[in-house]
């Protein structure tokens, strides 16, 4: 079956632009996570959804970052007024149940010029 998909795979933005990154989790997966992976580093947690409820957003680095999952399936991570330090790979993961195995998508590589 299909895994987690993310789009776009690559995004180049000028500093100050807004971007929207999409995640399509595995069908039926309850939990959805967003992580940020800087070059040469491990992924860092951003936010967590259980169905449509955002239960943990403690990892979002600033109020420029916003995530939603309105119908409990597809999720969008939005970054407003992008800065150069936002350049990273943004990974989405989903799991069937809470604390189940997390399946990762290929990520979106964001480059802010």
């Amino acid at each position: 079956g299909a895994g987690v998909s993310q789009s776009p795979r690559y995004k180049v933005a000028k500093r100050g632009q807004d971007v929207a990154l999409r995640c399509d989790p595995i069908s039926g997966h309850v939990s959805l996570f967003w992580y940020q992976q800087a070059l040469g580093q491990g992924p860092e947690f951003l936010t967590y959804f259980q169905n449509e409820a955002q239960l943990d957003k403690s990892g979002l680095p600033s109020d420029r970052f916003f995530a939603e999952r309105p119908e409990g399936s597809v999720s969008t991570l939005k970054i407003q007024r992008t800065q150069q330090e936002d350049s990273a790979v943004y990974l989405c993961a989903s799991s069937l149940v809470t604390q189940g195995e997390q399946f990762f998508g290929p990520g979106t590589r964001l480059t802010v010029l």
Binding site: V4, G42, P43, F45, G59, T98, Q99, Q102, P106
Partner: protein, 115 residues
Amino acid sequence: QQQVKQSPQSLIVQKGGISIINCAYENTAFDYFPWYQQFPGKGPALLIAIRPDVSEKKEGRFTISFNKSAKQFSLHIMDSQPGDSATYFCAASPRPYNQGGKLIFGQGTELSVKP
């Protein structure tokens, strides 16, 4: 703060050798310890995971050793192959409450297996 410390940063092993990667944690609330493998341009993929009620788990050529008192765990790759060349991440997850099993990752180990 860095809650999961991973070493070494990079590792070169000959084909057929044993690759060993170590991780240490401080937060006793962690109760799930997975290892992920990541190839360039791909997302991490789960290799093997352990919970703290066992000291060792083996799946094929991959073994996790877990030392709860020392708060350390390690990944052993037996009979390492060139196809194992990738970046490996250890991770830890706290008990659920409202946190849903978010993963705290180590910094990664870049493994290169020479033919």
